[in-house]
Symmetry: none
Subunit: 300 residues, 2 copies
Amino acid sequence: DPDGNAEENGEKNILSGFKTTTVLKDSALEKAVFLHGKLEDQEAVVILQKTPIREDTVAEIFSGCKLKLEMKNDIYSIYHLQPPAHLNVIKTTVICPATEHHVKKYQVQEHFLVEETGEDYLSITLPYIKEQRFSLQWVFNILEKKAEADRIVYEDSDKDVGFVLLPDMKWDQKQIHDLYLIAIVHQRDLKSLRDLTASHLPLLQNICTKGKAAILKRYGLPSSKLRIYFHYQPSYYHLHIHFTALSFDVPGCGVVRAHLLSDVIQNLQSDSHYYRKRTLSFPLRADDGLFSKFKQAERL
Amino acid sequence: DPDGNAEENGEKNILSGFKTTTVLKDSALEKAVFLHGKLEDQEAVVILQKTPIREDTVAEIFSGCKLKLEMKNDIYSIYHLQPPAHLNVIKTTVICPATEHHVKKYQVQEHFLVEETGEDYLSITLPYIKEQRFSLQWVFNILEKKAEADRIVYEDSDKDVGFVLLPDMKWDQKQIHDLYLIAIVHQRDLKSLRDLTASHLPLLQNICTKGKAAILKRYGLPSSKLRIYFHYQPSYYHLHIHFTALSFDVPGCGVVRAHLLSDVIQNLQSDSHYYRKRTLSFPLRADDGLFSKFKQAERL
């Protein structure tokens, strides 16, 4: 091997020839990037992920580092710290040759925040929902006990204020840390938050009270450990409410998608048409059909 | 300076003498550790956070790295990659001297959801805030240009509707993926959402319009890619608004803590006393002083 460096490293740096075509995903939170490109004429996906800081290396990081002051204000300072290189590796996953399937798997779709007025709902969103005719058969199967009957945690069978409470499919029910249940209403004419008026307050209050009680009884989790909310837009247009453990940072509980049941109840108490009139903000993926409709209507 | 290394580094490694007492928090997801300890006989909190991988440095990382194969299976391989040291810094925040308050802030604790009525705010929360006399000196330093003046992205100096917009300390400004700015109002009598009435609509609308415009101009990010919100409870009681990239799943943007500026504006437009009267839900840590006050008042 004529390459002294490679020999010193113990192996050849096969990645020195990697050419990035596109950045599939860039996770600033997790300190990771997902790249698609070419490695020796083959399609490849390369994932770079910084590793967690090991507590048992902290003393060595401090004693062996280089420090550069970036900012100082009162008792707060920020430095850039260069640790000893061997304590700061990047975990690198190479998939080569990669197929189209691998590329798509890691590709992030861009999201845009849509501000939907009450008018937009009637002229853009509602026609889109109707046109799509999303199948709700699986929801009706649950309500009619034709499927998942053994998973039901609680039911109130009243046709007006009744609902079925069951674990969300994402929850394996192995620990309450990530508890996730869904309450599905028996009424079949409620698509989402937008359909709610003060006339639905008995339904909402019933779900709030009995849902909390059922979760306390079955799982021992009090309501002060629960986050109870609607999604808007929901992923299916039959009214349902999410019950998740407060300690669990579940996707979809962000302020741009979730609406707390307690806020919805208060808003309807003071204004029956709150959710008919309000502009509601929510994120849409660029490849979502509804996104195209908003674009067509020049509302984006 | 007899220390050749320190001279070479440009500055003395003040952290070489840091002694860790306790690990307050270890976030494997975010690649960060929060340490409490002693720095030259003073109490200090030191936060080590690996930085996001900058897309524009990826080619240099690949060409200048050392690679070590850890695992290979079919088309999948995993390596440990040592990048050139200057491309792999750890952002290090030092708070020194640190108070009990700082130590608690970063310590992981159980959370409970509190439902604070308008009455509770007046009888429990407001007296607590006043009694604590949290120092806002660092905020006033920013507003008066005594600190961080070079970091200001935009300012409207009007005393009623004006504000300062600057990058949050959590954002390193290296990529817009995790963009995070804070707008701090010039008015000094607004503690939080609870103090807002319809009379503050001009202030809020001004921040909304000019904040968006400044971010578009400086960073090229349009408002459809922004999440703009208040925290309640905020971490300090001088009114401020968070501007974060929609694509960035930042802690604190959950429905139990964040309130969208666009919702706040609409709510105040239809009811000037919305935030005086409403029950607001928020999580509190079990060791938070305010939590004890709610317990004492038998509101938990």
